[in-house]
């Protein structure tokens, strides 16, 4: 109790010392940006994802990023999200929040965090309306032609590494819950007897946690990862 009080006093002192000459207040959009980038938006102790893990916020994604989610620039006033299957922005956000960020309960419409996140999304959405973005889920998992190894290495670096870390070691991975690639496939012969390991990897990439797969990895649609790049990735992983 005393420690909390002391902390609060300290925070107040720090903040007052930080007055920028204006009213000293943080805008909701600024606070929302912090939340956007902070995995602690989710109360789950097992979560390591923030919104920024899967989404850029610039008109086009920065070089070197191949996210499973679209950039959220101009996303606030899209006609729909998730390929037309979410028609409300908060529902679209909460689908991520609950399924990928392990949020215990959806964000409510009126909580300060929720409102601030909305204001940040609006602040990076200058267009009053924007068309929906396509989101093609690969329903039936089938093999893909293999591709160029060097391209596959690049795909790994841009799409996989931020969560899974360096290949073979997992060095720098976002969380220990993220498997080490491609070593995780060593068990697939036992877990999926008779099934090519590559097919299990393709399923994980294309279905994420859905279709009965499990875990909390987002899925890659055809728009966010082409079959050609997936084939190159498999070549790089010797699968």
């Amino acid at each position: 109790m005393m420690r909390s009080l002391w902390s609060a006093v300290t925070l107040a002192v720090l903040l007052s010392a930080c007055d920028d000459g204006g009213n000293g207040r943080v805008t909701a959009a600024e606070y929302g940006e912090v939340l956007f980038n902070d995995s602690r938006l989710s109360e789950s102790q097992f979560n390591s994802f923030s919104c920024a893990t899967c989404h850029a916020t610039t008109p086009t994604p920065p070089a070197g990023r191949m996210d499973s989610g679209y950039t959220l620039y101009d996303a606030a006033f899209r006609e729909s999200w998730w390929g037309g299957y979410e028609t409300r922005l908060l529902d679209a956000v909460n689908f991520c929040y609950v399924n990928f960020m392990r949020g215990v309960a959806p964000l409510s419409k009126d909580s300060p965090q929720s409102r601030a996140l909305y204001e940040y999304l609006v602040s990076i959405s200058p267009s009053p309306s924007a068309p929906a973005r396509p989101f093609t889920v690969v329903k039936d998992v089938v093999e893909v032609p293999r591709g160029d190894r060097a391209r596959g290495q690049q795909v790994y670096a841009e799409a996989c590494q931020s969560c899974h870390g360096a290949p073979h070691t997992g060095a720098g991975r976002l969380t220990e819950l993220a498997s080490i690639l491609p070593e995780v496939t060593n068990d697939y012969g036992t877990l999926f007897p008779g099934v090519p390991k590559s097919l299990v990897v393709i399923e994980k990439v294309r279905h994420g946690q859905f279709f009965g797969v499990g875990g909390n990895m987002p899925l890659y649609s055809l728009e966010t990862l082409s079959d050609a790049d997936l084939g190159a990735l498999l070549t790089f992983m010797d699968l």
Partner: protein, 415 residues
């Protein structure tokens, strides 16, 4: 340790530059005096108005996870078209198979079954998706904005769903033919193939009871006093559920002499239509292509009253005086106009020329002048909704809807 580290980090951030917003927000806890620029958070751009007193037709499209909405008062006008097609379900990634709907009498909510049965819904090493092996749900949606406000998990393969007159109780069957085939493969007895009738509190969306009724129960209808539920069972039976007993008591009546069972049905009862005046239960049997009649007093079938048709009969509708039964049937894709007293087919309204394929259900408008008929289509392309002038026997209009529509209902809004 963590707390100390956190404060040290915070201090470092503050000292590193006061204009850094992250330094002014030291935690995900909201800062004091937060200024919100938008009075209405998460403002929605949708301009779809709520249903009005003119009514709104709602159709479940079971293979594309959508609802087709059509304004009822456009029937017979050039404006008879799909107002909107809205997604429905718990998951925007997987197809979940919305199956049938029930509308609250007050018009404030409606309910949709989620079957998780979508052939070709997806596959991979973890297995095929949408095979009906997963549990289903009953969803509660706000009629004003089609927003999900509640759900309850039920058993695999939800079939029909209906609501009590007071709007407080839902009855949902489970058309679990997968259970029949799985257990038959294991040579298990038919007694193990029964599926449940879920009785659900519509206000709280909690299960009040799960009543074991019969193998693959599909259509469910309530008697006028709501003391009895009748259920069409794939096992060539009608289950009669005494809802006044605690727990509800089930008796079963074969639809005909020499009927089959769950594994080898000869009739395949699928749909039910109740007479509003006599209470007779008209049983649509797909395999035997006849409508069979159950006497609600004796609780026995009346074989002499059975009406043969040229194709599998589906969900029909009575006029409020009980003197006419409109019964759609497949193969020919027509609506048979039946005199229930004599059992004669007085005439037929052909729908195939209007584009109907695999007719599924007819619902009458309140003035009983128009039949709203939904046709499944080929289960790949769009299905159709037809407005039929019942007196003239003509199709007033046709609307393309989603894939494999399987129910039609009407939402009534407030003036």
């Amino acid at each position: 340790m963590n707390r100390t580290m956190g404060w040290m980090s915070a201090l470092a951030l503050v000292l590193s530059g006061c204009d850094e917003k992250v330094a002014r927000v030291l935690d995900v806890t909201p800062p004091e005096g937060l200024d919100f620029a938008h009075e209405e958070p998460w403002k929605e751009a949708s301009t779809l108005p709520p249903p009005g007193p003119g009514g709104r037709i709602i159709i479940t499209n079971s293979l594309d996870d959508t609802l087709s909405l059509v304004e009822l008062n456009t029937v017979g006008t050039p404006g008879f078209r799909e107002l909107a097609r809205v997604p429905v379900g718990l998951n925007p990634v997987e197809l979940e198979g919305p199956h049938h709907s029930a509308v609250a009498p007050a018009g404030d909510f409606y309910y949709v079954g989620i079957s998780n049965y979508v052939p070709g819904g997806g596959s991979g090493p973890h297995g095929a998706h949408g095979t009906g092996a997963d549990d289903g749900y009953c969803l509660k949606l706000d009629a004003r904005d089609n927003r999900l406000v509640g759900s309850v998990r039920v058993n695999p393969n939800p079939g029909d769903v209906i609501i009590s007159a007071d709007g407080n109780t839902l009855y949902q069957t489970h058309f679990d033919t997968l259970k029949i085939s799985e257990l038959a493969r294991q040579n298990r007895p038919e007694s193990e193939m029964n599926a449940n009738l879920a009785i659900i509190d519509a206000r709280t969306m909690t299960r009040k009871d799960m009543v074991e009724v019969c193998p693959a129960p599909h259509a469910v209808r309530l008697s006028a006093d709501e003391r009895t539920a009748y259920v069409a069972c794939w096992s060539d039976e009608v289950a009669i559920v005494d809802l006044t007993a605690q727990p509800p008591a089930v008796t079963r009546e074969k639809v005909a002499a020499g009927a089959g069972g769950a594994v080898t049905p000869r009739h395949q009862p699928y749909a039910l239509t109740l007479s509003p005046t006599s209470g007779e239960v008209w049983v649509s049997s797909m395999a035997s292509r006849q409508v069979q009649v159950l006497n609600p007093q004796t609780r026995k079938m009346m074989p002499e009253r059975a009406v043969p048709l040229r194709g599998p009969p589906m969900f029909g509708a009575f006029t409020s005086d009980g003197r006419t039964l409109y019964l759609p049937y497949q193969l020919v894709d027509a609506v048979a106009v039946i005199d229930p007293e004599t059992g004669t087919v007085q005439r037929e309204v052909s729908l195939s020329e209007a584009g109907c394929l695999n007719v599924h259900q007819i619902m009458l408008t309140p003035d009983e002048r128009v039949g709203l008929v939904v046709c499944e289509g080929d289960h790949v392309g769009p299905g159709t909704l037809h407005a039929v002038d019942l007196a003239e026997g003509t199709v007033l209009g046709t609307v393309e809807v989603g894939i494999f529509p399987d129910s039609v209902n009407i939402l009534w809004g407030q003036p």
